[in-house]
Symmetry: C2
Subunit: 304 residues, 2 copies
């Protein structure tokens, strides 16, 4: 089970009524945070989130509105008595900037491991510090600096069939092993494998996070079939399209078209321009393109 | 005239109901900001302050809760179409950290001039970018890193006496010159100096800002006679005194004793520990030591 909270929905600068875009995804008590602009720790606190649960921070790119909350958050996590290492994943090109930035923290009571991710080719790694069945995939995006999108995929165990296990007279103490993918040999010599005691497979739960970027075609494949796509939409005003694209951003309408083409279940828009004070204005237009669109507000939550 | 706003009153980390300590002082439309922790720009916006008026930023020390809002603030000031240079004054020892930090901003549309101030000896300079009659004095404090206090002194023109000017038959067009300290020679050969047309001198208006530090005796002389002393008070609980002092901080009671000894007109407490959720609890005790104490809240304002 994952608990998702979009802590903020703004782009460029934090406003008094809208913090910067940052995603908190918790998997059974351990969490990933994507991006950490100024005030993200305050946004998290406002939405009742315990920062002590954050094990991994993923950074999309080096722009200030996605990273300058890092020193404060790391220090505050230190105040929560953390001593275990914390992992931060950053695009290759952002590493120096991030190291400079967090040097402000001085000596933390825990280790910060910075891992770099390729800017130019997709990659995938397991986020087993958070959940052994969770993988993170990346996609190079197209912005004014190198930027990457993230896809969080939590595999699900297949459905267990206790009736089959009972009929096979497998003692209950072995059920968990078999359900988790292990093989069991009983004292009577019989051997069982998972397929003996599970029913249908369950699809993974996927959350895709894409900001800041042009609406490039590769996002469609990357986001395909996601349970939730969180995607930037700087403006809803079509007249802004060219100037947005020039800056490496997309419109809300672009995000809806991607969501539709990628056949995602839900789309949450985010990263609104500070000049876009009422993104709800565009609801009817956006809903027509992709009915499952949410014009997110800070603190948008769901359980997947 | 100066308009003072204590944008935040917290120490260590920004809370959902208390931002970090930062002082905004505006003199006839141009302003000084002292310290800029995470979320300071949001605090300023909440209190209706126009960041475009900031000409000078003074930094007390390099701890994150006093500086990590700088990149975001500088970028936001850039979004206000600023093109004139902006001055930041920092203690010598904080320069590298500040330069690292603001490198996150990339290319700003205006120049940022970083001036260093000695960590270990007091100094004074004129803040004429803000007001030609405004000076800034510093005091080395005692904290876990080098830290300095600031005293803002706005000199006042003496009171003009139009009856004297009239009786001397000085044309009105020369009054401003004389009031501003100039000497005037009329066509008829008579020469006048300011003392011919002014009455009593007016005392300067002074605001002193002191955080983070042990309650060292030199603060008393530094703050002496201030119209307003803004001073840290991490805790009101006397049992915290030793642990506070070990970290280079003081109690609210220490600040009240300094205010009393320095004979300041008013004291605003600030920089409360996140653990001090209700500083008002100590009002009676503090009022007994120094009756003109205010247990400040974010957005505390006055005009001096």
């Amino acid at each position: 089970m994952s608990e998702i909270c979009l802590a903020g929905t703004g782009g460029m600068l934090p406003l008094k009524n809208r913090f910067l875009t940052s995603l908190y995804a918790e998997y059974n008590g351990k969490a990933i945070l994507i991006d950490c602009g100024e005030c993200t720790q305050v946004a998290l606190a406002q939405h009742g989130i315990k920062i002590s649960r954050i094990e991994i921070i993923l950074i999309t790119h080096s722009h200030a509105d996605h990273i300058t909350g890092l020193p404060g958050l790391l220090l505050s996590i230190g105040n929560c008595s953390r001593t275990e290492p914390l992992d931060i994943y950053v695009p290759d090109s952002a590493e120096k900037m991030i190291r400079n930035l967090i040097s402000v923290c001085g000596q933390l009571p825990y280790e910060v491991n910075i891992h770099t991710l390729p800017d130019d080719i997709p990659t995938t790694f397991t986020a087993d510090k958070v959940d052994s069945m969770l993988t993170v995939s990346t996609l190079p995006l197209v912005h004014s600096v190198n930027c990457i999108g993230y896809r969080l995929t939590q595999a699900k165990k297949p459905v267990f069939a206790p009736d089959r296990a009972k009929s096979l007279e497998i003692p209950v103490k072995y059920w968990k092993v078999l359900h988790s993918g292990g093989t069991v040999t009983l004292d009577d010599g019989r051997t069982f494998k998972p397929s003996d005691v599970v029913k249908e497979n369950r699809p993974p739960v996927t959350v895709t996070y894409v900001t800041d970027t042009l609406p490039i075609p590769s996002i469609v494949d990357f986001a395909r079939g996601s349970d939730l796509l969180i995607c930037e939409g700087m403006y809803g005003d079509l007249s802004k399209k060219q100037s947005m694209n020039d800056k490496g951003h997309m419109l809300m309408q672009d995000a809806c078209i991607i969501a539709k083409d990628a056949d995602v279940k839900k789309l949450w828009l985010t990263h609104y321009s500070p000049a876009e004070s009422e993104p709800e204005t565009y609801y009817d237009t956006l809903h027509e393109i992709f009915p499952e669109v949410t014009i997110s507000h800070d603190g948008e939550k769901t359980v997947l």
